[in-house]
């Protein structure tokens, strides 16, 4: 006779934290298994990773713009 089956509930909030690398090693394994086996979870991860890419494409390179003189002078004057 087999022992009790452990039921692991993965919430979308945890899947989101998984995308950000904010889970413990054990939690990460659980969510990774869920993403592998569940199409909806896999779709969420893909959609949020795509959002991240677009967010960076939209704003990422602002840091390469030259600093306006008025801001530099605020600090250095």
């Amino acid at each position: 006779m087999s022992g009790p089956v452990e039921l692991i509930v993965i919430t979308p909030v945890e899947v989101s934290a998984f995308v950000d690398g904010e889970l413990s090693a054990e939690e990460r394994c659980d969510v990774a298994a869920c993403v592998r086996d569940d199409d909806r979870a896999a779709c969420l991860v893909a959609a949020w990773q795509w959002q991240q890419a677009l967010l960076y494409a939209a704003f990422g390179r602002i840091i390469e713009e030259p600093t306006p003189q008025r801001l530099r002078l605020t600090v250095t004057a």
Binding site: V13, Q51, A57, I63, E65, L71, T74, T76
Partner: protein
Amino acid sequence: MRLSTEQAKAIEAEIPYLRRYARALTGNPDAADDLVQDGLERAIGRFDQFQPGTNLRAWLFTILHNMRCDQHRRMVRRPLELPIEETPQHACIRATQTDALQLSDFRRAFGRLSEAHREVLALVGLEGLDYQQAARILGVEVGTVKSRVFRARESLRREQLMLERPTPRHMWRAAA
């Protein structure tokens, strides 16, 4: 307060990151730079409160966050002052026309989020801060950041779906 040369250099090096964070918050390059300027003035005035060896960028982000909260207390919540897609082209990646449309839609969708959602996505998604750092800046619990990031992503996904442009095949299907 008078800054030393090293202190001034350290703050100056953070200005690009402050501008990016402020741009994501306000959606308006001029308003963003005004916010950064006010933030820099406040930071210089209170630099004796900064603890050497701690994260200067996070400290400056906290100042911008608090200033933005002050601004919000003075005005009713409203959409971004300018459509966020009006950010200069040189701020964007070079893209094909399709990519440019997608990026333009994304900026519009992002601009429709609440400021709390834009802010948490800017800190975690754009600036790469962990939940604990973001929580300190926002003055909330780590669990709040965790759930807020999730809600922000879902709101953004809904906005993106609403703005999704029909492709010719979609139109053909709709017409059939």
